[in-house]
């Protein structure tokens, strides 16, 4: 009998370009190679024949309402699958689960809200922390096996939601794609980046939570750096006319790898990350990464010589982070040996801890699929719905 798995998510992974979408595509590829037929359900794609008029309960939050339809509609077809995987709280309304269910936490909204509390309104804080976090994300842990993309997220899931037996499976990076590329100057020509410039890259959404305020302050005080901003879907960036700056939007994965390879460092000042895919990809490309201790940067930049690239926590004050960033960029610019040591060491750490095959092995193990040949029919539910 054909083995089948479903994925519940928010947006079409083939139409959006975010970390979760990349992760979904990698997951689909892995599961298909493991002989699973995979169906993806999201807010724009519900199981065939779903009558949304019959779905309750309804929420004040329009986003939760649309996600609620995904989870509730899945009850109609859950018997067709061996198991289901949901991202974050996107499958919260498939509760209680009737087949083995896995929730992948890429972050926790409770921690994200705390980290960005000062930046947004109180209304935003209540919605993100209490509704998305302590409400929907908590519901996504009940009777479901939680897989966290980093040890930090695993700790947060336990601390905020009381999740038990959280499995930490560190996300992998496709290092056949994200690896140092030769002919840096030639690559720079492709993107009209000055051949001899000292190039810093920012790779994220243009959003306050990605610490664009810090980025702009640092850009002001580092006039000798040529900045390349690779922006995903976000607010409009006001720096298009800025000298020594190149903004590249809507970039394909392959192009991201190329641009990273022709830069000198990645600046990733984000106040909160569950994982920080940009950090992992940059390190894999042999790029020194300057970042505060959030997400994967917390552990990867912990040991020498990379610890010199780790910025202080935002708890010490934003200005401290800015000062440290400027200092570190200056050192990277001036000290060629330091730069090379960081690049070399970072790439090695990435190769050891962030390889795609390693993620595939650990991920399948977390799903209870020990090898690609083994049938995960042994997956079963405890009485309380937890996956055995």
């Amino acid at each position: 009998m054909q083995k089948r798995c479903a994925i519940l998510t928010s947006f079409d992974p083939y139409a959006f370009k975010g970390g979760i979408e990349t992760y979904t595509q990698q997951m689909v590829d892995l599961l298909q190679r493991s002989s699973y037929e995979v169906d993806i359900y999201h807010t724009q794609c519900l199981p065939e024949g779903t009558d949304t008029n019959l779905i309750g309960p309804s929420f004040h939050s329009p986003f939760l309402n649309s996600l609620s339809r995904v989870g509730q509609a899945f009850y109609r077809v859950d018997h067709l699958y061996n198991f289901v995987i949901a991202h974050a709280f996107f499958g919260f309304a498939y509760s209680p689960p009737r087949i083995p269910t896995f929730t992948i936490f890429h972050s926790t909204h409770a921690q994200y809200a705390e980290a960005n509390r000062e930046l947004f309104s109180q209304e935003w804080y209540y919605e993100v922390k209490y509704l998305f976090g302590l409400g929907a994300e908590y519901a996504s842990t009940i009777g479901k096996r939680v897989i966290a993309v980093s040890d930090a997220v695993a700790r947060e899931a336990t601390a905020h939601y009381g999740a038990i037996d959280v499995v930490s499976v560190v996300t992998g990076v496709d290092q056949t794609l994200f690896s140092p590329r030769p002919d840096k100057k030639g690559l720079r020509d492709q993107f009209a980046i000055p051949r001899d410039a000292f190039v810093g890259v920012f790779l994220a959404r243009w959003g306050v939570d990605k610490a664009i305020d810090v980025l702009q302050e640092v850009m002001k005080t580092t006039p000798d750096v040529f900045w390349v901003l690779i922006l995903g879907t976000g607010e409009p960036c006001p720096l298009h006319e800025r000298p020594n700056t190149k903004i590249i939007e809507n970039v394909e994965r392959n192009e991201v790898a190329t641009i990273l390879s022709c830069a000198d460092f990645l600046f990733h000042p984000s106040r909160y990350e569950g994982f920080g895919l940009a950090v992992a990809e940059a390190l894999s490309c042999g790029l020194p990464v300057i970042a505060p201790p959030v997400g994967i940067a917390q552990s990867l930049l912990a040991l020498p010589p990379l610890h010199a690239l780790q910025l202080p926590s935002y708890e010490t004050g934003t200005q401290q982070v800015i000062n440290a960033a400027v200092e570190t960029i200056t050192r990277l610019h001036r000290d060629r040996d330091f730069r090379h040591a960081c690049a070399h060491h970072g790439q090695r750490v990435a190769a050891q801890t962030l390889s795609l095959p390693q993620w595939e092995h650990n991920f399948l193990a977390a799903l209870g699929i020990a090898s690609r040949e083994e049938n995960p029919e042994h997956l079963s539910l405890h009485q309380d719905g937890a996956v055995a």
Binding site: F59, L64, F92, A93, P96, E123, Y130, L131, L134, G135
Partner: protein, 352 residues
């Protein structure tokens, strides 16, 4: 199982729309009237929410009122009152209905009130039923009996209407437009509903069902009654209910915060106006003083009076400002004081 409603000399029937009284409890009304009780009917909505037939313009409210009056006579109802509230939107007029019904029941002092069931399949029916229940909790002296129209009711009383069924049928037939030109279909349907109840009393006939309440029940008792004793269990709440509860709370908090922001904006605007008004007053005071100095003699009695008036006003505004600006003062009270003072000030003409 009770087979009759409690005896009553004065009965009030509350109907959300014209026709509900005939469909839901027309037989019982006819029985009460036949037995000499005073039956009063209060219809809450205007019945306007029925589409006009193709290509024809008609005053649907007038048509339905005529139908209602005809049915009322047939059933033997002595007093008819209509509140004429918008059909289909009674939930927007809850307070108004509550007041009207409360006043009506206090004036009429009935023994028995017939109201649509709490679980009837129309929002207008449900809200009228809820208000009747609220009034049972606050207004003494009567028994409440819920009747069924659009959804079967869990009942504790069945009234045998077999001998008055033809009256009910005739009353229903009055509602040509109200019942979509098919009163026969509705009579057949409601007759079947009434006949079906014969299974509970083990003899043939037509019976209207009621849930009779002598004492106000708690919400918990209502749920238990309607669901045959369903008790919410801890497991049944589930994490999804928790998300729903959080969603309700966050929405409520966000709404309150928005209201607070609006109030802050109002206070800010009023403070600005107050400051401008105070400056204007001070300017006038300075002018008076300058005039007095220029004339180099004591002011006329009129000038004295004006100066005194301005001095008083200035003092008033200072008190007001001191009241508004100190930290920790209640926003609402500060706002009302500012509004009152501004009204006092702006009601005076500039030349005064």
């Amino acid at each position: 199982m009770n087979t009759d409603l409690p005896p009553a000399k004065r009965v009030v029937v509350i109907a959300p729309h014209p026709d509900d009284e005939s469909l839901g409890c027309g037989g019982t009304i006819a029985r009460f009237a036949k037995n000499g009780a005073e039956v009063r009917l209060l219809v809450v909505s205007d019945g306007a929410a029925i589409e006009e037939p193709d290509g024809r313009h008609e005053d649907i409210v007038a048509v339905r009122t005529q139908e209602l009056e005809a049915a009322t006579k047939i059933l033997g109802i002595q007093h008819l009152r209509t509140l004429q509230l918008p059909d289909g939107r009674l939930t927007h007029h809850e307070a108004q209905i509550h007041t009207a019904l409360s006043d009506y029941l206090t004036t009429v002092q009935p023994d028995l009130v017939l109201a649509p069931s709490l679980i009837d399949g129309h929002q207008d029916h449900v809200i009228v039923g809820r208000i009747a229940l609220q009034l049972l909790r606050t207004t003494p002296g009567w028994t409440l009996a819920f009747y069924e129209v659009l959804a079967p009711l869990r009942f504790n009383t069945l009234v045998d209407i077999t001998d008055v069924a033809s009256i009910k049928e005739t009353a229903i037939r009055c509602y040509q437009r109200s019942l979509f030109q098919q009163p026969q279909l509705f009579w057949d349907a409601f007759r079947a509903l009434n006949v079906a109840k014969s299974a509970f009393v083990h003899h043939s006939g037509l019976f209207e069902a009621f849930w009779v309440l002598h004492a106000p029940p708690s919400d918990h008792e209502i749920i238990a009654w309607a669901t045959y004793g369903f008790q919410p269990s801890h497991n049944g709440q589930g994490p999804l209910q928790r998300v729903k509860d959080v969603d309700d709370l966050v929405f409520a908090v966000q709404e309150k915060m928005q209201q607070l922001a609006n109030t802050d904006q109002q206070i800010h605007t009023l403070r600005s106006e107050l400051t401008a008004a105070t400056q204007k007053l001070q300017h006038q005071e300075t002018l008076i003083a300058a005039l007095q100095l220029a004339s180099n003699k004591s002011a006329t009695p009129a000038q004295d009076s004006r100066a005194e008036c301005l001095t008083k006003e200035t003092s008033l505004f200072r008190q007001c400002l001191e009241y508004v600006f100190p930290p920790g003062s209640s926003r609402r009270s500060a706002l009302s004081v500012v509004k009152r003072r501004l009204t006092q000030y702006t009601s005076k003409s500039p030349n005064e």
